[in-house]
């Protein structure tokens, strides 16, 4: 047991070292952490620094601002929207649900993809055929579009960020995720050390848990990061159409900015459109950058080529 733990720790440290060596991945993690901290800090900010009557993301109004939407100025870092609400406050209020949704989508995608893909590859035969056809079928179902169909159902207002992430995770996990993982699992199972384990008398589940799965985690991690990118954009778009339970969302903010121009000058309120668009892209991009780093952990050949060195392994 001790040796097992020591070995796991060593492998983990090695992987962490490879991951930290990639500066893009580190930047990605930093962005995600900053977003998480912003989401956590928001409830404290609204009670103490920002008086909630002025800065409430839904009903706030600042009587000192003459005409809305106002450009960035004192007290409002990104200005106000057409209804006089502070943009930065809305931006931060939307961070926590989106962050939660992204995390749920990431972990449900990875878990389901790994289970479905590994079981299909290990058992082959009838089970594999059924699971593969199911994956192919789910691949034809674009998850973001399907989220909109769900959004139009009568219970759509009950779909919170966690449910959104879960449903998205199931669709991408069973579909594209499982296909990618299954291909990798087939490659692993063909390796000689699996035969060795089988000859040594290991059962199916032992081979799966001890020998196959550890080789699938890194790839599953890469894939889950990629799936989150789609989930974030889909969530924003569902909110853009007004079809999720979350009232405050980056997508809603973009929609408001595009739809409600300045009533007096008729100008587009760029201070309402740009911050949420950039926030959304940056958040999604962070997950992509993390996936680049994870790929270096997962794929020694790729790592060596990226660093222009001959791999010591």
């Amino acid at each position: 047991m001790i040796t097992w733990r020591a070995r796991t720790w060593r492998v983990f440290k090695l992987g962490l070292g490879h991951f930290l060596h990639n500066r893009l991945a580190v930047i990605g993690v930093a962005i995600i952490v900053v977003y998480g901290m912003a989401g956590l800090a928001y409830p404290f900010l609204i009670g103490t620094v920002w008086p909630s009557g002025v800065y409430n993301p839904v009903t706030g109004f600042d009587p000192n601002v003459m005409s809305n939407p106002a450009p960035p100025g004192e007290g409002h870092v990104f200005g106000t929207d057409a209804l006089g609400r502070d943009v930065l406050s809305q931006l931060l209020a939307a961070t926590r649900p989106t962050w939660l949704m992204a995390m749920v989508a990431a972990f449900s995608t990875a878990t389901i993809a790994t289970i479905v893909g590994a079981i299909g590859a290990l058992f082959r035969g009838f089970i594999d055929a059924v699971l593969s056809r199911l994956s192919d079928a789910f691949l034809l179902l674009p998850a973001p579009i399907f989220m909109l169909v769900i959004g139009s159902s009568e219970r759509s207002q009950d779909i919170g960020p966690v449910d959104f992430g879960l449903i998205y995770g199931v669709i991408t996990g069973v579909g594209a995720g499982a296909i990618v993982i299954r291909a990798q699992a087939l490659k692993v199972i063909a390796a000689p050390f699996i035969d060795a384990a089988r000859v040594a008398g290991a059962g199916r589940w032992r081979i799966l848990g001890l020998h196959v799965l550890p080789h699938l985690y890194p790839l599953a991690a890469v894939y889950m990061m990629l799936a989150v990118v789609g989930a974030i954009v889909a969530d924003g778009f569902a909110a853009w159409l007004g079809q999720t339970g979350t009232r405050v969302n980056w997508g809603t903010l973009v929609y408001n900015g595009i739809t409600f121009t300045n009533p007096i000058t008729g100008l587009v309120a760029w201070n309402v459109i740009l911050p949420p668009s950039i926030a959304l892209s940056l958040f999604a991009a962070a997950f992509y950058l993390v996936s680049v780093g994870l790929r270096e952990v997962a794929d020694p050949r790729y790592r060596a080529a990226r660093r222009r060195t001959v791999d010591p392994l």
């Binding site: 500066r23 893009l24 056809r133 199911l134 192919d136 079928a137 789910f138 691949l139 034809l140 179902l141 674009p142 998850a143 973001p144 579009i145 399907f146 909109l148 169909v149 959004g151 139009s152 159902s153 009568e154 579909g175 594209a176 990618v180 000689p192 035969d195 990118v229 789609g230 974030i232 954009v233 889909a234 778009f237 853009w240 159409l241 980056w250 997508g251 973009v254 929609y255 595009i258 587009v268 459109i273 668009s277 959304l280 892209s281 940056l282 999604a284 991009a285 992509y288 950058l289 680049v292 790929r295 794929d299 050949r301 790729y302 060596a304 080529a305 990226r306 222009r308 001959v310 791999d311």
Partner: protein, 384 residues
Amino acid sequence: MVRFVGRRLAVGVVSLFVFSFVMFWLVESLIPGDYFSVFRLGMSADEVEALRQAFGVDLPIHLRWWRWLLAFFQGGLGQSTTGRGVTHELTDAIAPTVFVFVTGLAVAFAIGQWLGRRTGWVGGLRSDGITVAGVSLSTLFPPFVGFIVTTVLALRLRQWRARFFEDERRRLWLDAPLDEGQFLNRMTLALAVGLVLAALVAAMWWRLRRKRITSGVQFLLALALMLGLWQTLGITPWAVDLLFDAILPLIAFVVLAFGEFMLIMQAGVVGQLNEDYVGTARAKGLRERTIRDRHASKNAVLALVARLAVSIPYLMTGLVIIERALSWPGIGTVLFRAIESQDIPVVISVLMVIGVVTMLTRLALEIITYALDPRIAHPVEVHV
């Protein structure tokens, strides 16, 4: 080849079958009610029940699905709640979507793999910068892209066209031999034929003369073939006009799609850098450009095509969102109108059409992979 295509086609049809049931079941159970509960208009409960029985809406779900599937393949898709047939609604919308999808995919693929090949080979800090640029392009919020494209380009384009071509355009469409959908279909076909023929010519040239045609020349050849086909079909003036109409969704789609292609291609090329054959080619004294274009990128493009097959639904989604944001009269616009007005027959049919388009694109990609990768046709037998 024929056996391979036949097998993949069979698999595609089976998965389409499964997909149709899953989709039908999910949509029917998520969006409650049917035509007679939405439009009951003061009918009594008994009357509604009688009508439901008469139209078969009260049947269990698998029977309804089966009836719908049979009707789907016989070309009748039922009635939209707008009073028009679903078939009618869809045929108008498919041509614009498919045109933008195919053209945009071809352009984005060409740009993406060209850029990815170059930046991947350079490596280092500059390559990281390009990665960041590609990532930020591919994660842009589609409605935002649509908005930028409209505010920056749409008005100028419209004014420019109004100044120069207004009279010609009016006369042009007065005596048009076909309608817009038919023109768009022919344009899509011309593009596809042009691309395939250019690839075939390049392959034949290599077989017969042992001379390579560079990808740039191949691209120009495809373009020339496409324009030639337009002339032969006699659709040139209308095609040019429609191309102007389609330019905004095309630009938005390409901007969203090519970043991802570039990233995958870049990663693929980086993965080839340390391979032994690259070292061999260097030792032979080949130029770096030759090694990159003829050896490394040929292997890297396989990864790109493989990834593309998985990303097709997401690209399709991006297109649907752009259509909605730019009011391009394609499938996306129809879908969102249907979703907003609970028009279930249209929603189901649109999802099914998206499924069919995705399946066919995947099949095309698999055939391309088959042609590019000899390992699939002649697998190496490993004896341990």
